[in-house]
């Protein structure tokens, strides 16, 4: 495009100052809103990832290779201390906790019910799930191993038992014996997952290992690293895997542990695109309208230009250039406005609390105040897409202008 065409286009944009301003403003608003939405959603997504990945499943898990499928008591990590020593020594591992799962018959004075026992280490588990926040009666498990047990609210109801009562646990132990112990209900937990509350009892890992005759063993170690992203995490997990493989164990990254979470996370990019196309698509209809008007009212002018020897291609370039200027102005203005709104969202966030508390997802809580997260992609995507749209939107009006017969055009009013 020649520089004379460019300056002509710029002059044309300035000829209808108000119209150009309004058209650009509409688009700038579109860019700003899109940008802010993406910033806001990025914050939401990050929170979701923290909840669904970091807190629920960790960045990676170590277990017996068969355990995830069989959930068999015997498919255990045989020597937990050796494995945790390796994790302690690994600078890429920032936190971890150990879990054991078991099934038992729980008996109160009145009832006997089957239950799932979740053996945990309260002090390190708190880095993951916030079960202590869901206690509705009594207290959460103490850090030291003991005979305390916390029951899901539904399970406590089924057993007709309350805080302070004694509870008998009977389970098939790993040595073939009938493990049996007397525990004390120390707390009742209530989450938003009634199915879980009906079946799960929480107990210290060591206490459970004694009941099941699985001392020193466990079923799952979950751990965190500095980065959950695939490219950063893959080599770390591969390295851990090589370290635990001789002990007959596997280390699996979160996306293998919970493919559904990965699927959900991959929606993030799709959502950003849909938002961008939807919002900017609307403002681009305005551009088409603006450019059509600009072309129609200048029929005579285009006739003169054609008569003076301007080629069709140059007419198209002229109109597209005019639209591009509008798009450029809108992108810059929208970027500045969107940047300001995004900055506010990042710094102050929006209070999304429900009754003063964060969103609860099972035993995991999402922050009550969601802060936006500015990303380069979130910043560039709307601006670039808008500019592209402006170029495309001008094509039709431009083609109309180029197609004009000079003689007819000159006669037009």
């Amino acid at each position: 495009m020649g520089s004379s065409l460019t300056s002509m286009a710029w002059r044309n944009v300035q000829r209808q100052k108000r119209r150009s301003f309004l058209a650009a403003l509409a688009m700038a608003m579109g860019v700003a809103v899109t940008m802010s939405l993406i910033t806001w959603m990025a914050g939401m997504w990050d929170n979701m990832e923290v909840a669904m990945v970091d807190r629920l499943n960790g960045h990676f898990q170590i277990s017996h290779p068969d355990y995830p499928a069989t959930r068999q008591m015997f498919d255990a990590i045989e020597d937990v201390d050796t494995i945790t020593a390796k994790l302690d020594a690994n600078p890429d591992v920032t936190a971890y906790t150990v879990r054991m799962y078991g099934a038992a018959l729980l008996g109160s004075d009145e009832r006997t019910e089957g239950a799932s026992l979740l053996g945990i280490i309260p002090s390190s588990e708190s880095r993951f799930q916030d079960m202590d926040e869901r206690i509705t009666r009594g207290a959460w498990l103490p850090d030291e191993p003991g005979p305390q047990v916390v029951l899901g609210s539904g399970l406590a109801k089924r057993l007709k038992i309350d805080v302070g009562d004694e509870l008998v646990a009977v389970s098939q132990a790993a040595d073939g014996s009938l493990g049996n112990e007397l525990y004390t209900v120390t707390g009742i937990i209530h989450t938003d997952l009634p199915q879980m509350d009906r079946t799960v009892a929480y107990i210290h890992l060591q206490t459970l290992s004694e009941l099941l005759a699985l001392e020193g063993r466990a079923h799952e170690i979950i751990a965190l690293t500095p980065d959950r992203q695939m490219d950063a995490l893959t080599p770390i997990v591969a390295d851990i895997h090589d370290q635990v493989a001789p002990a007959g164990l596997v280390a699996r990254p979160w996306w293998e542990v919970d493919p559904a979470a990965l699927q959900l996370m991959s929606m993030r990019g799709v959502q950003e695109w849909i938002t961008t196309l939807l919002f900017l698509g609307a403002s681009v209809i305005g551009v088409i309208n603006t450019m059509l008007m600009a072309v129609m009212e200048r029929t005579r002018e285009f006739g003169v230009l054609r008569a003076l020897g301007m080629r069709k291609r140059e007419i198209i370039q002229l109109v597209v250039a005019e639209s591009s200027f509008l798009g450029l102005i809108a992108a810059v203005a929208g970027g500045i406005l969107g940047g300001l709104i995004s900055w506010y969202l990042v710094v102050h966030g929006i209070d999304m609390s429900v009754g003063g508390k964060g969103w609860e997802m099972g035993t995991v809580t999402i922050d009550p105040i969601i802060h936006g997260k500015m990303t380069l992609r979130g910043f560039l995507l709307p601006a670039v897409i808008l500019f592209g749209f402006c170029v495309l939107a001008a094509l039709w009006p431009a083609w109309k202008a180029a197609r004009l017969n000079p003689v007819d055009a000159l006669r037009a009013e």
Binding site: F74, L105, G107, G114, G176, L178
Partner: protein
């Protein structure tokens, strides 16, 4: 169903048969089989019993040996108490009718085994809780065919049993082998697809109170190579005097 120890249900069941709907065989033979089966029936029968035994369980995960004392009265009541190892000593199982209770000395509680746990194993063995209480009368529920007969003082009977269509039996087929002297040799249990599920075998026949009984039996699950549960009787007495209060939850605690 005969009871001298609860686990004996299994060994007793297949040989406690009456040819209710026996197939077309010679009248004389049918009476003979009838007598044979009734003999086996009576073999395990006693108005009551008292036994000392050991159970040896071997699985791919663990191996354990337990010393136990068992009492039974009639067909529906029995009590088994574990004597060794020390960790399990005092643990007892009471059967009364279709119900099963476990007494756990460590927590001093008696727990009824809930319906959902009846298919679980008993004391880590290859017997399920259901095996202890299942009172299905094979004599009522099966029809049989004799496929092999002993000749004189050698050989054995091989009897194939198929449950009636309306019978509440989990097996598709049962095969019993009985020695020429009417002693049980083995019993094989097949599922509905005809695949072998478990094999019970008997030996160490001894004469107790004038009757010959197998003092050792072994159960081998077909789908777990190398695994088995073995029961060996150190002693057994029949028709002993037992107080019926022995088979109550109170008595479980001893």
């Amino acid at each position: 169903m005969k009871w001298f120890i609860p686990a004996a249900t299994l060994l007793a069941a297949p040989i406690v048969l009456a040819p209710v709907a026996g197939p077309a065989i010679a009248e004389e033979t049918e009476a003979e089989i009838q007598a044979l089966l009734e003999y086996n029936d009576d073999l395990m029968r006693g108005s009551s019993s008292h036994a000392m035994m050991t159970m040896h369980v071997k699985t791919s995960r663990y191996e354990r040996r337990m010393k136990m004392e068992a009492w039974s009265q009639g067909e529906s009541k029995s009590l088994i108490r574990i004597l060794e190892p020390a960790k399990d000593a005092g643990t007892a199982t009471l059967k009364s009718g279709d119900n099963l209770w476990n007494y756990l000395p460590k927590v001093d509680r008696t727990m009824k085994v809930p319906a959902g746990m009846m298919s679980g194993n008993w004391m880590g063995s290859h017997f399920t809780n259901d095996d202890l209480v299942k009172d299905s009368r094979l004599s009522d529920d099966f029809s049989w065919t004799v496929t092999e007969r002993p000749s004189g003082n050698s050989g054995k009977w091989v009897i194939e049993l198929v449950p009636h269509a309306d019978a509440a039996v989990v097996w598709g087929k049962v095969t019993a082998e009985i020695r020429h002297d009417k002693m049980p040799i083995s019993t094989r249990f097949y599922d509905e697809d005809g695949a072998l599920v478990r094999t019970m075998s008997f030996d160490s026949y001894e004469t107790v109170q004038g009757r010959k009984v197998p003092m050792h039996m072994k159960m081998v699950p077909a789908d777990k190579p190398g695994e088995f549960t073995e029961m060996t009787y150190q002693s057994i007495e029949f028709d002993v005097k037992l107080d019926s209060s022995m088979f109550t939850q109170q008595a479980l605690r001893q």
